[in-house]
């Protein structure tokens, strides 16, 4: 497996969506390829940082109002 092929499959690798055969190939590649090990580690961390930087909690009063609105919306579309 080449670096290009390994990196192409990273999202599926981290989501545990690869077949055992492909998973074995990609792990074998990581074992011999330091740049790809650095890549997968920083790719995974990028995903985490995006969530941390962009995720925000709604204030409680907004949650309460939104919940009331959703319940009304569900009743209306029934």
């Amino acid at each position: 497996m080449t670096c290009r092929e390994a990196i192409e499959k990273l999202a599926e690798y981290l989501d545990a969506e690869l077949t055992p055969e492909v998973l074995q190939q990609i792990d074998a590649h990581f074992e011999i390829c330091a740049p790809c090990r650095a890549y997968v580690a920083t790719y995974g961390k990028t995903r985490e940082l995006v969530a941390k930087v962009r995720r925000m909690e709604l204030p409680e009063d907004v949650k309460t109002r939104l919940r009331a609105f959703l319940v009304g919306h569900i009743a209306h579309t029934k």
């Binding site: 390829c33 740049p35 890549y39 940082l49 709604l58 579309t77």
Partner: protein, 153 residues
């Protein structure tokens, strides 16, 4: 927001599938619009071409570039450094600069934590297309973070 939606779905278990489905589509559209509109007031900012931030490979498919750069692994840097004001600002700018159709799926996948299949359904595209765009968006952000955080001097 999607967490709230899931709680609401649980709370209204007896509702018809159609009702929940319509509500789902509606709230995804709201989320997508929010994802598209959240630009931190920098609407004039030019969207970068995503291609320039994708990793480079040589003819045989192996990573190419300066060795200290391709080996740079900043993932173990202290959390305080990774979430410093400077790094947050850089990452926010990088996300804001993604083309709209990349930013929207990235936010739905990595911030809102929606499964690829639900995103695909909500925006009317194939799961393969969603996966590919999320992956390219992450690679572009990773590249910009690596330029900023590593290699260490």
């Amino acid at each position: 927001m999607t967490k709230l939606l899931r709680e609401e779905r649980k709370a209204t278990e007896g509702e018809s599938f159609e009702g929940r489905s319509a509500l789902g589509s509606w709230i995804y559209r709201v989320t997508i619009n929010a994802a598209l509109n959240k630009r931190h007031g920098k609407r004039h900012e030019v969207e970068t071409s995503i291609e320039e931030h994708l990793p480079g490979f040589d003819a045989s498919g192996h990573r190419q570039g300066d060795l200290t750069y391709v080996l740079a692994d900043w993932s173990q840097n202290p959390e305080a450094a990774l979430l410093s004001e400077e790094t947050r600002a850089l990452l926010n700018r990088a996300i804001d600069s993604l083309p709209d159709h990349y930013r929207a799926v990235l936010v739905l996948r990595d911030v809102e934590d929606l499964p690829n299949a639900e995103i695909a359904e909500a925006i009317g595209e194939s799961v393969a297309s969603v996966k590919s765009r999320v992956h390219r968006a992450r690679m572009a952000l990773r590249e910009q973070l690596t330029r900023h955080l590593g290699p260490r001097a």
